[in-house]
C-alpha cells in the first residue's frame, strides 16, 4: 500500500515537472528564434521582448476598452432619439477622421523597387528604388482625385500622418514599412484610375525610371482604421457671438 502511494506521488511530480520543462523549452525556442539573431546582447534582447510584450498587452486592453465604450454608447442611445442622432454624427465623424474600419470601391497601386541589375539601375541605382517622396506624391495625387480613405502597407493616412525617410526605410505614421508598397484608396474608381494613370502622371514618371508599378481597379476594398491616437491639446473652438 505504501509503495503504491509513493509510486503515484512520484509519478504525479514527474508529470508536473515534464509539463513545466516542455513549456520552458518551447518558450526559449520561441524567444531565441524571434530576436537573438540580430541582437547579440542578452540584456537588450530581454528588454526588447519585455517592451514588446507590454505594448501588445496594452494594445489589447485598449481594443477591449474601445469595444466596451462602443457597447456603452449604443446602450445609452437606444431609447433616446436625440442621443441616437448624436451617435450617428459621432460615427460619421469617426469615419471621416479614419478611426473606423471602412470598405468601398477604389483602386490599388503597387509600387516596388526595380531590378537592381537592369540597365536603368547601372546608370543610377537610386532611380529604381521607391523613395519617400514618391509615396508622398502618389498620396497627394490620390487626395487630389478625391480619395476618401488611403492606406499604405496597413498604415491608414489620416490628417496627422507623416511619410518620412529614415535612411534605408520609409516611416508612415512612425511605423517602418518597406518595398513592395501597396497603396489602397477608396473613392470614385474612374476618377482615381484616370488621374493616376494619365499621361505624364507621377506614376508614369517613376515607371520610366525603372520602378515596378501596377495600378488596378478593385471592388470592395477593406481599409483598416488608424491604429494610433489623435490627441488635441491646444485646439479650442471659437464660439460666435
Amino acid at each position: 500500500m505504501k509503495k503504491k502511494q509513493i509510486a503515484i506521488t512520484l509519478g504525479i511530480m514527474c508529470f508536473i515537472l515534464t509539463i513545466a520543462l516542455c513549456i520552458q523549452i518551447k518558450t526559449m525556442n520561441e524567444a531565441s528564434s524571434a530576436a537573438s539573431r540580430t541582437l547579440a546582447d542578452n540584456d537588450l534582447r530581454d528588454q526588447v521582448l519585455k517592451w514588446k510584450e507590454k505594448y501588445d498587452n496594452i494594445y489589447n486592453t485598449l481594443k477591449e476598452k474601445q469595444k466596451k465604450l462602443e457597447e456603452v454608447r449604443t446602450e445609452a442611445t437606444q431609447n433616446d432619439t436625440l442621443a441616437s442622432a448624436k451617435e450617428e454624427q459621432l460615427k460619421k465623424n469617426n469615419i471621416i477622421l479614419g478611426l473606423t474600419d471602412v470598405r468601398g470601391d477604389g483602386i490599388i497601386i503597387e509600387v516596388a523597387d526595380g531590378n537592381p541589375e537592369s540597365f536603368l539601375a547601372t546608370i543610377n541605382p537610386s532611380n529604381v528604388l521607391v523613395h519617400y517622396n514618391d509615396l508622398l506624391n502618389l498620396v497627394n495625387e490620390l487626395n487630389n482625385a478625391g480619395a476618401e480613405a488611403i492606406e499604405i502597407n496597413g498604415q491608414r493616412i489620416v490628417n496627422t500622418s507623416s511619410i518620412t525617410c529614415e535612411g534605408t526605410v520609409i516611416k508612415v505614421n512612425g511605423e517602418k514599412i518597406g518595398s513592395p508598397f501597396v497603396i489602397k484608396a477608396i473613392g470614385s474608381q474612374g476618377l482615381l484610375y484616370g488621374s493616376i494613370t494619365r499621361a505624364g502622371s507621377y506614376i508614369e514618371l517613376i515607371k520610366d525610371e525603372g520602378v515596378q508599378t501596377n495600378v488596378i481597379k478593385e471592388d470592395d476594398i477593406y481599409i483598416e482604421k488608424y491604429k494610433g491616437v489623435l490627441n488635441y491639446e491646444y485646439l479650442k473652438p471659437i464660439s460666435k457671438k
Binding site: K3, K4, Q5, I6, A7, I8, T9, L10, G11, I12, M13, C14, F15, I16, L17, T18, I19, A20, L21, C22, I23, Q24, K26, T27, M28, E30, A31, D46, L49, K50, E53
Partner: protein, 141 residues
C-alpha cells in the same frame, strides 16, 4: 513499480507539455528556477525511497515549497539587483548530484552483489560436476 510510475508520468507530461501554450518571456526565468527546484525534489524523493526513509509529507511540501521559495528569491534578487537565483541553482544542483550519487551507489552495489551470487552458483555447479566425475571414475576403476 516506482520506475514505471515515473516513466508514465514523464510521457504523459511531455505529451501535454508539447501541446501546452507558451508562457510570456518575462516569467520564463522564474519557471526555470522552479523546474530546477522540482527536479531536485524528485531526485531527493527517489534517493530517499531507495534508502527506505521516504516521507510523503516532507516530499510533497518540499516539492512545492522549494519551487515557490526559489521563485520568490529570484524575484527578490531582481528587485535588489543581486543574482540570488545563482545561489539557489548552486544549492539545488549540488543536492541533485548528491542524490544521484546515492542512487548510483545503490544500483552499483546491487549489481555487484548479483554478479557475486552468479559466480558462486557457477563455482558450486562446477564443483558438483567435478565430484560427479570423480565418482564415475571410481566406479569405472
Amino acid at each position: 513499480m516506482i520506475f514505471i510510475a515515473i516513466v508514465l508520468g514523464c510521457i504523459i507530461g511531455a505529451l501535454i507539455g508539447i501541446n501546452a501554450p507558451i508562457i510570456p518571456y518575462t516569467y520564463s526565468g522564474y519557471l526555470a528556477i522552479a523546474i530546477i527546484a522540482a527536479l531536485d525534489s524528485v531526485f531527493g524523493g527517489i534517493a530517499s525511497t531507495l534508502k527506505k526513509n521516504f516521507d510523503l509529507k516532507i516530499f510533497v511540501s518540499g516539492f512545492f515549497g522549494n519551487a515557490i521559495l526559489s521563485i520568490l528569491l529570484t524575484y527578490l534578487g531582481q528587485r535588489l539587483n543581486v543574482d540570488i537565483y545563482l545561489a539557489a541553482i548552486v544549492v539545488f544542483v549540488g543536492r541533485m548530484f548528491n542524490n544521484l550519487a546515492i542512487i548510483r551507489r545503490y544500483y552499483l552495489e546491487k549489481f555487484v552483489k548479483y554478479r557475486k551470487i552468479q559466480k558462486e552458483k557457477i563455482v558450486e555447479y562446477e564443483g558438483k560436476n567435478q565430484s560427479e566425475n570423480a565418482q564415475k571414475k571410481e566406479i569405472k576403476k
